[in-house]
């Protein structure tokens, strides 16, 4: 990865505007946490089915999806994002973890926010299967706790081992 790529990544990453006010001592309401877990399962089921419409249905109509590649506004655009993605990459084995202190409620009780991790197996025409993982932060609202904003990242693969010192046998 060169410096130019780094700058581009940083620029994109800065757009990840997360309302993340952590309260490590937060003890989430078990019922609310279960609602979050249920809502997440709908999302991972949709991903496992590679169903872009079902993925988008987990967002509010004006939901926002923030990734390192950019920001997507609104359910129709999010559906297209995933439809295009599913044409190139098959997703399976989607798993999501929720941090133990999530979810948190906003003061008016209309929105919850939460953080956690994710992993999935991806398979492309010319690559994979390979496992990818990352972390996420979400804001959910409404009767079904649909996603108002989802920010997710991808953990970079481990750095390759340092090149061996050239020797007569490998020069």
């Amino acid at each position: 990865m060169n410096t130019r790529s780094v700058v581009a990544l940083l620029g994109l990453a800065i757009c990840f505007t997360l309302p993340t006010f952590a309260q490590q001592a937060n003890t989430p309401d078990p019922q609310l946490r279960q609602k979050l877990v249920d809502a997440i399962k709908k999302h991972t089921d949709a991903l496992d089915k590679n169903d872009a419409t079902a993925v988008a249905a987990n967002f509010t109509e004006d939901g926002v999806n923030v990734e390192q590649g950019g920001t997507t506004f609104g359910r129709p655009a999010i559906e297209k994002l995933w439809a295009d993605r599913f044409k190139q990459v098959h997703f399976s084995n989607n798993k999501v973890t929720v941090d133990e202190d999530s979810p948190h409620m906003t003061t008016d009780g209309k929105q919850m926010w939460a953080t956690g991790g994710w992993s999935a197996t991806i398979q492309g025409e010319k690559f994979g299967p390979t496992e990818i993982k990352g972390y996420w932060a979400v804001i959910r609202e409404g009767d079904d706790w649909n996603i108002r904003m989802l920010c997710s990242n991808v953990t970079p693969p481990p750095a390759p081992a340092a090149s061996p010192t050239p020797s007569p046998s490998n020069q």
Binding site: F16, Q68, T71, W136, I139, M149
Partner: protein
């Protein structure tokens, strides 16, 4: 620069912890956008360009969580320490960030000022 470090750097940038999220259909109070720019974005860029981890940390709440590709960093002090380590090997110049003028919303019923003080 090692890929691993780059990942950390990207992660540090990712958690620009602002209470901003998008709703394209709603008008946004221009004063709120300006306040966000003045109090956060400008200071954020200055702190990064000065490689000042304490100044970046000051833009977080005491109990903020920083979401990176390698996991979470909890609390202002830990965020500051993490960034201080990064600045030892990475000194950015011309670090810029932008705020989508359509993507600023408040969470909860708090006043603008009260929310911004939390950052």
């Amino acid at each position: 620069m090692k890929t691993r470090l780059l990942g950390a750097l990207v992660g540090l940038a990712i958690s620009f912890a602002l209470p901003t999220f998008a709703q394209q259909k709603e008008a946004v109070d221009p004063q709120l956008i300006q306040k966000l720019y003045d109090t956060i974005s400008k200071k954020w860029n200055e702190a990064y360009n000065n490689h000042d981890a304490a100044a970046v940390g000051a833009l977080y709440t005491e109990d903020a969580v920083h979401v990176t590709p390698d996991g979470f960093v909890y609390g202002r002090k830990a965020i500051e320490n993490s960034l201080a380590d990064v600045f030892k090997s990475w000194q950015p110049k011309n670090h810029t960030s932008t705020i989508d003028p359509q993507s600023v919303r408040m969470l909860g019923p708090d006043t603008n000022g009260a929310k911004l003080r939390r950052i």
